[in-house]
Structures are given as C-alpha cells and as structure tokens.
Subunit: 228 residues, 2 copies
DNA sequence: TCAAAAGTGTTGACCCTACACCCATGG
DNA sequence: CCATGGGTGTAGGGTCAACACTTTTGA
C-alpha cells in the first residue's frame, strides 16, 4: 500500500549558487549563460533542480562540481526564494546558496556553461530574481565573514596579511587600517607564520601565513569569538 | 501551449514553525499533537504544506494565523530541512521558520491542534527531525536576539527593564549583571520611559518602558549597531 | 519591621582607533 | 637610488566587567 499526502499542484525545487571568488583586489562572482528556455542566453546564476535522491546540499554540491570540477567547496544556505510567479514557466521555489572558491590556475571551469567572472559591483542584469539573490548572498557573506573565519576559503592555503586585508576591504567595500588589522588578526593567534615570503606584490615581500583550523577550534572552545 | 521543465518525481514543500513565547521567567515554545498520519498523536511542530498560490512567507502566516488567530506575527526563516528520507511517507522538504509572540490573556489558541506550551529546556521527543529544527531555530534566535532588537516581540508593549533582562537571561541561559544590563540598554536610547510602574513582581515596582521603533531606525541610520 | 526586588556609581582592565616613520628590495 | 609596498609602536578615549549598598513598600 502506498500512502500519500493530499495532492497539490507540483512545485519544483531548485538550488541557485552565488559562487564568490577573490582575485587579488576584487571580489568576484561566477555567472553563466542560461542554456535553456525561458530566458535562454541571458546571464544567470548557476543552478539546478533537486532530484529525487538528493538533499539540497547534495544538489548544490552536484551543481558546483559540474561547473568547477571541485568537491568540498565551502557553501552555506542563504534563504529560499518562493514568490509564486518568480519563474514564468512553472512554479519553482529556489533555495539560494553561496559558495566560496579559490581562483587560481588549477581552476578549470567547464566550458558547457559559458561561465564568466564578474566583479560584484559591476554585474549585468540577471534573469528572474537572481539579482536579488545576489544581494541577499552578498549581505550574508559580509555578515558571515565578520563573525566566522570563512575568508580563508577565498584565499590560497598560504597567504600574506596584506592579501587578507585586501580581501576584507573588498568584502566590506571599506578601507582598513593596516596596522590595526594585522595586530588584530595576529592577536587572535589562529594563523601560523611560515618562513616564506610572497614577492608578487612588492619588492620587500610579505610573510606568508596559514590558517590553523585546529587551533581556531581550540580557541572557540575556550570562548574566543571571532570578529573582524 | 503549456511549457514545462523536465519531469521529476514530486517533492512536497512544507513549512514548520517554532513559535517562541516568554512567560515571566521561561522561554517557551508551542507544540501541537499531530492530527494525521504518519505519527498521528505525537508531539510535533505546527506546519503545513505550501499551496499553489502562496509563497513560503504566506504559508507560514496562514499556519500561524490558524493556530493563534494573530496576524503580523514576527517571523524569520531559519533553514531548509531536505534529507531524502526525513518524512517516511513521501518526499517532503520543509522550510523552518521561528516566530515570536506575546503570551497574554488575549491569546486564544485554536482548540483544533491540542497545542501546549513547553519550556525550551524541557521538551518531549518530537516527530521526524523536528527536534533538530528546534535546535536550529533556538540557535538562530540567540544569534538574532543578540544583534537585532527582536526580543521586544516577546514582551508586552510596556515592559520593565528587569523583565527584559529576565528575557535575555532565558534566551542565553546565562545570568546577566543587572546594573550593566540596564546601563547598556538605556545608553542605546531606544527605550521610552513611561510614568507607570509594574508592581506585579515587586513591592517597590519597576518603571515601564516602550521600545521606540522609529528612534531605533534613526539610530541605525546613524551607524548604531545593536548588540546585547 | 522585614523580606524581596529595584535602582544606582566607581574603578581598573582591556580594546579600539588614530596616526607616521623606517625597512627591504627590484628595477 | 628611489619608488613601492611591508612592517611596526604608542597614546587617549571609550567600553566592559566586576563589584555592594540603599530604596521602596506590601505583607
């Protein structure tokens, strides 16, 4: 015997991803050319319908993997967009995620989606309510970056303090005092200083650091609360 | 011509609400006896399926109204629960909201749901993943109450500082220094002091205040950031 | 008159901000 | 040798936490 809840018209469930990356000085996000109707050919977020056998997290991982070839991407739910007419073709609710990835030469984007990086403050018009999704995701990113150590997800494993500062300046769209910033971040003692220097942005070179996740967790257990 | 996206098995979309209330000293939440299969008769969150013609917010408002008779309840999305087998009957994803209401003698709960208030730290076992939903909602409430002035939604329009403090003590499950607390909250100057006193909890009586939303917005525009 | 809750002030520690100069080095 | 970005120290103000006693009044 198969039992069912009472019938309602079908509601499709989708996920859409705001994929952030950081490229030296700019916070960017990845947009794709929509490959199917409606609005085929327009700029849109990457997304997909949730399948029978997957949770929303699974669906998001699948979508991200197909585009970037990466697994274990940092991702976080933002909110659900569910206005009745948001998709003109059929009733679809969409759960928005943001994801953080490291832009570097190893990153090989699938050619299938016509994906392109855009600076967050110079975006094209997107389909449906996708611009609103971006706004919501950006706001959540700012909030989370301030209170959780997620900024490191956007940087290479080894990074310099000035690089980290530029990242936060890009996220907050605000200049930060370099002395205060480095004092604060070092005082949290969750960074491991490496011997090497990064000379790509200056002649003197800047010391490289690594985020020490284990140490961070210890500190949190001792009552540290991260805030930048 | 009707166009459709490719077919997938139907996924039902539901909302579930964690309704918080504050009763003098305790943070409570409202549970109902489930009235349909599966798990009929067990304690559960109040919820409902999203209908064709409503957004998630609409659905949540409808569910809250049917139970409490109230409109304009404060509510906020927490996250989506979407594990494939979370509902044994049929694939259902559920969007969790928390809502804040004022418990008082005007509150007339519908008799249809067998609803009952429970102290947040003395809850029964709930159906499905509802206990996890409560945990997620409670965490979000703590977070939000610290950073946004939502605590007032749980108190009567007129309230005393000690009452407000007891509320925050209940939310954080932590004692707060009454001198520091009242200094801090008054310094934010978003409360309007009224002439009257509340004598229900002491012989001396405590001055009543009102939250001044307009003033609060002004302060935020001037760069205040609320934090308790 | 006493019990019970409300109200109030001070101090020291810490943290945050603002600010300017020297260092290292590749070109 | 000089232009460029990296690195560092200090002082003042503000904020926060810790702490105890007086006030009011109903019972």
């Amino acid at each position: 015997m198969t039992r069912h809840y009472p019938h309602t018209k079908r509601i499709l469930v989708a996920v859409d991803c705001i994929i952030f990356g950081f490229d030296q000085n700019d916070l960017k996000l990845l947009l794709t050319k929509r490959s199917f109707e409606p609005e085929k050919g327009k700029w849109s977020l990457i997304g997909g319908f949730v399948q029978d056998d997957e949770s929303l997290d699974d669906a998001t991982k699948r979508v991200l993997y197909k585009l970037t070839g990466l697994k274990n991407i940092f991702m976080d739910e933002v909110k659900v967009f569910s206005e009745v007419d948001r998709d003109p073709m059929e009733r679809t609710i969409s759960v928005v995620y943001y994801a953080l990835i490291k832009i570097n030469k190893n990153l090989k984007l699938s050619r299938d989606y016509g994906a392109q990086w855009f600076s967050v403050d110079d975006l094209p018009v997107l389909i449906f309510d996708h611009n609103n999704m971006v706004d919501a995701a950006h706001e959540k990113l700012r909030w989370m970056a301030r209170h959780q150590p997620i900024g490191f997800e956007l940087l290479p494993k080894k990074f310099s303090i000035p690089q980290l500062r530029r990242l936060y300046e890009a996220i907050y769209d605000k200049e930060l005092d370099k002395r205060n910033f480095s004092r604060k971040i070092i005082a949290m003692s969750m960074l491991e200083k490496l011997g090497e220097k990064d000379k790509s942005t200056s002649k003197k070179g800047a010391y490289l650091y690594r985020f020490d996740k284990r140490r961070y967790r210890e500190l949190v257990n001792k009552g540290l609360n991260f805030e930048i």
